[in-house]
């Protein structure tokens, strides 16, 4: 006989490893499916929450884009003495001369209050403000008239008012009919129209608007604008912004404050919701429970499949190959749960987002992270049972109870 050669253990191919990993799945479908449910719920909840918050963020940003990010507001700031500064009368017309500026509208605060009728106690102001407005306001702030009509050159001189959306609500006026009037300052003003909400200029919603001439004549208004709304060519917004203060008040540019309302909305849209954190936490708990479920099923599988383990050792499986088989089975179970969870989560996101007309956004972090997490959990859950299976002595495993 030739010189005896020491045999070398062969490596299993990837296909064989996968086939062995799926033995438990193929022989005990129901149990495998149930054990993966926890993981599926956990991953599904996390993916859905992340997907929903991303989709709603995308929806809000799209809404902001639709409203236009080219709106700038110029307001009177404070003087060095800490009193309210006043914008020059000419501020709107000077701003209008900046080349990229397309639209300018201004409002000016009055000291008057508005009430449903003169019988209402004067302290119930409903936090409404009475403002004088120029005629181009709706176009500048991106809103339209919901009912009735906006002021025109004729009504701007008369005791006529147009209500912001919230103002109309608080005054209990939902429609405009001839003769509808409210008590502003010391007299009746006829209601000409009601505006739709203006998300970029929430202060307009709370305003009772009257024309500049009317404010001056009936409400003792000083004609100083307090806020100027400026629309500029989108590509030049930054340039316009940099010169606005000096243009509005050349004598005291530092008494002017300039802002871009869409910035605040974007910040709010992208801010992380506290509920998101809560649901992610719940998902993590479900995931943990799912992992324990997989570990439990694997422990039982190792106990039940002793004779299979014994047979495989007799057929020449090394301890490592037995370990790999059970470890990869746990990972497969868990990954399957994770994949189902991702599908459920994406499905829930798609359903809700399309109902809200948002675009469907599921961040890569959510689905890739979900799959990675389920892989890691499978590996953790399978580690102990796999080591146990590998440690089982072949003769012990083959002995039938």
């Amino acid at each position: 006989m030739s010189k005896p050669t020491v045999p070398v253990a062969a490596q299993l191919g990837l296909g064989d490893v996968c086939r062995l990993a799926s033995v438990g799945l193929r022989t005990r479908r129901l149990r495998a499916g149930l054990s993966a449910v926890g993981i599926a719920i956990g991953i599904g909840a996390m993916v859905a929450v992340l997907g929903l918050s991303s989709s709603s963020e995308a929806g809000l940003l799209a809404e902001i884009d639709r409203l236009g990010t080219n709106l700038l507001t110029v307001t009177n700031g404070q003087t060095v003495l800490g009193t309210a500064a006043k914008l020059p009368f000419a501020a709107p017309s000077m701003i209008d001369r900046i080349a990229p500026v397309t639209t300018v509208a201004e409002i000016g605060s009055t000291d008057a209050n508005a009430y449903r009728s003169p019988l209402i106690n004067k302290i119930h102001t409903n936090a409404l403000v009475v403002q004088a407005t120029s005629l181009g306001l709706p176009a500048a702030v991106g809103t339209t008239v919901a009912r009735g009509a906006f002021l025109n050159p004729a009504t701007a001189t008369e005791p006529v008012t147009v209500l912001g959306a919230a103002a109309a609500d608080r005054l209990g006026i939902s429609r405009v009919f001839p003769g509808e009037r409210i008590w502003v300052g010391d007299q009746w003003f006829y209601v000409a129209g009601i505006l739709r909400p203006a998300p970029l200029a929430a202060e307009i919603d709370r305003s009772v608007l009257v024309g500049f001439p009317a404010a001056e004549r009936y409400l003792g208004f000083d004609r100083h604008p307090t806020t100027v709304y400026v629309r500029a060519a989108t590509s030049r917004v930054a340039d316009v912004r940099s010169v606005l203060a000096a243009t509005a008040n050349p004598e005291a540019p530092n008494e002017v404050s300039v802002s871009r309302p869409s910035d605040a909305l974007v910040a709010r849209a992208t801010a992380k919701n506290a509920l998101t954190g809560l649901f992610i936490g719940l998902g993590a708990v479900a995931l943990l429970v799912g992992g324990v479920g997989v570990a439990n099923v694997m422990v039982i599988a190792v106990l039940e499949r002793r004779s299979e383990i014994g047979l495989r050792r007799a057929l020449g499986a090394t301890r490592g190959q037995i370990r790999t088989q059970f470890l990869s089975e746990a990972v497969l179970l868990s990954l399957l749960g994770g994949a189902v969870g991702v599908v459920l989560g994406v499905g829930a996101t798609a359903l809700y987002a399309s109902a809200k007309h948002w675009s469907i956004v599921v961040p890569a972090l959510a689905w890739a992270g979900g799959l990675t997490a389920s892989l890691a959990i499978g590996a953790l859950a399978g580690a102990l049972p796999a080591v146990r299976a590998a440690r089982l002595a072949p003769t012990e495993a083959l002995r039938t109870a």
Partner: protein
């Protein structure tokens, strides 16, 4: 002269306990290539223990075991596994077939750990199944087979890698005498074709049909027909 496939030198095996169980108390045995040996003996005499040690599923407490010339004392666990994968075939009383896969794949899995690719394993399994007379049943599940047929599948699985030695522990233990007889017929046929086979059996009648019988009692070999002066037939001296 034929080469020894298996050599045992004063092999002892005791299981821990109070007092320890001495399952093997000094067994020396040599089995040559192409031999067919029946191991008989009463229950508890150490037959299965012997088979496990010969099959490298367990290590002896002391003594030396050589398989195809390799001293198992010098081999690691991993190397022993490879030795089983490539040179030893097992047949068990309980068949141990996987019910979720076809008969053919059960047989092909006999070579799973020997390093062959799936296609080659299946091709060899087809031949091996034909050899045990079940060439037409490859696609069915083991659950549809009779006990005798299942054991033939298990034998096909043990043979598929063309091992140096086939070890069978009570292969007829779960079968009636007719089916058991058929299994021994099959093993005899394989032996005639050159396979080296060790069969453990309770059944004296079956053992008598084999060329060589080793009888055990209390962990010792008390009779071995090969040790008698009359040389077994077919052995050139």
């Amino acid at each position: 002269m034929t080469a020894p496939v298996l050599e045992l030198e004063d092999v002892k095996k005791s299981y821990p306990g109070e007092p320890p169980v001495e399952a093997l108390r000094g067994v020396s045995l040599r089995i040559d290539e192409g031999e067919m040996v029946a191991v008989v003996g009463p229950s508890g005499s150490g037959k299965s223990t012997l088979l496990h040690i010969v099959g490298t599923l367990d290590r002896p407490t002391s003594g030396r075991v050589r398989i195809t010339g390799l001293d198992t004392n010098h081999l690691s666990d991993r190397e022993l596994a490879a030795l089983r994968a490539q040179r030893i075939g097992f047949v068990f009383q309980q068949f141990f077939l996987a019910e979720h896969q076809s008969v053919l794949d059960n047989v092909a899995d006999g070579m799973l750990y020997a390093g062959a690719r799936l296609g080659d394993r299946r091709a060899r399994a087809v031949q091996s199944l034909a050899r045990v007379g079940l060439g037409h049943r490859g696609a069915t599940r083991p659950t549809t087979l009779s006990g005798g047929e299942r054991q033939r599948v298990a034998i096909a699985r043990a043979l598929v890698g063309r091992p140096a030695i086939v070890l069978a522990d009570e292969p007829t233990g779960n079968l009636d005498s007719a089916n058991g007889g058929a299994i021994v017929d099959l093993l005899e046929g394989l032996h005639a074709a050159g396979a080296t086979i060790v069969v453990i059996t309770h059944d004296r009648d079956l053992a008598d049909r084999m060329p060589r019988q080793v009888e055990m009692r209390d962990g010792r070999i008390v009779a071995d027909t090969a040790a008698q002066p009359a040389e077994p037939p077919g052995r050139e001296w």
